[in-house]
Symmetry: C2
Subunit: 248 residues, 2 copies
């Protein structure tokens, strides 16, 4: 629940964004049970609330850029965020998409290793670095939770590599749709409808394909009656078939 709302300037050497802040109330937070915050006991929550601020980002708004000094960590509460890195010549690799419940800032280092941008209007819980690192230093179970999250991130990265290195375009799309479905199920169960908040270009850069190949492959799967293409989403019709494709 939003307790307070204002616009504030962050310190000048900070990140590529000015944050609009508001207080938070963990008890009413609908992603608390699936987020890192769950590592803290109920009686520890006030300490978390004390260092957290609810922040909103408009669609396409930059959250931070690669190389920025790390000034904050974020817990995604709604919307979707894309993480990406750029080549000098403009090629872009989308590293992943952050969905509600995901934690952005597992890397406690000095500088950002990638860029983060809101895909659609999104809200996050923002923790300033000094406050949060102090909290982590004080709560070993929070650090353990973060480390477990890091392990899961590494595992997801391996899945991603499997897709990029070994799979055909059709297999990559099938894998992408199924992995999105799995992640969306965990927060809200929309059945076989997979919401695609991101553009075709985002999907292409995530899967190491071109926008044309993504489009063609989606229509191909639709013609084979494996999926149905809907506005901003896809309906999964033949999940078995998609599963076979994704498993190789």
């Amino acid at each position: 629940m939003i307790l307070d709302s204002s616009v504030a300037q962050t310190a000048s050497d900070g990140e590529s964004c000015v944050y609009r802040k508001a207080g938070v109330d963990c008890d009413s937070c609908h992603v608390r049970t699936i987020s890192v915050c769950d590592a803290l006991r109920p009686d520890e929550r006030p300490q978390l609330e004390g260092v957290a601020q609810r922040t909103r980002f408009a669609a396409k708004e930059t959250i931070f850029l690669e190389g920025d000094r790390t000034g904050s960590f974020f817990n995604i509460t709604s919307g979707a965020v894309r993480l990406y890195r750029l080549f000098r010549d403009g090629r872009r690799q989308v590293i992943g998409f952050m969905l509600p419940g995901d934690f952005l800032g597992l890397d406690l280092g000095e500088r950002r290793g990638f860029c983060a941008e809101a895909v659609e209007p999104s809200t996050v819980c923002r923790f300033s670095k000094p406050h949060f690192t102090a909290l982590v230093a004080d709560k070993p179970h929070l650090l353990q939770k973060l480390h477990r999250r890091a392990g899961r991130q590494i595992s997801l990265a391996h899945d991603h590599m499997m897709a990029l290195g070994q799979r055909s375009a059709k297999e990559r799309i099938a894998w992408f749709l199924l992995s999105l479905r799995d992640r969306q199920k965990s927060s809200s169960s929309t059945g076989a409808i997979v919401k695609l908040a991101m553009s075709r270009q985002d999907i292409a850069d995530f899967l190491g394909l071109t926008i044309e190949t993504v489009s063609r492959t989606l229509t191909l799967l639709a013609r084979e009656n494996a999926i149905a293409i809907l506005p901003k989403s896809v309906r999964l019709i033949d999940e078995r078939r998609l599963g076979q494709l994704a498993a190789g």
Copy 2:
């Protein structure tokens, strides 16, 4: 320094390997300063030595398989280890290569997420899981070090994704050679000679290419006088050119 040598059976539900063990002496360990062990103070080292055993693996020997119950963690002290995952149809993605100083087992979870195999005769420092997790629980600075390593792993995974998703065969090879050089420099400075302990098939499965394309691309780079192909290694001649290719 090896204090004791024997062959021992591990617990039956353990890993796909029988470990030949020996004691360790951290003071004389040549990778200590670049490994996670460096997180411990000199006076804490005896505790580490107490739970560590030096173990050797022959070339092509399996260290553990995907799905195995996690029974140990390893610090690579010599040689090279490949990490990989398999598809049901036999396709293989090599996730990475572990070199001396690398820590194998950042994921403290129940089961292995990938397979590990020695590429060449290798020695490791083995920590059994209960002992090591007890040590980690007792030493927050060790957990922090592990978490920082995990952050670096994630960063390496991102580099790998950039290569798999966006780069051409030539660019991937150039990137691979330079990244190997950077990692080898940190342990022993062999100048512009990059040792290739792994086979062409390993390189191919790491880069998402075929063995033929790897071979062709290496000879192409050699014809362009960017490298020279030597037995089990490569000499980097035109590092600037390789760097341009790798940067995109």
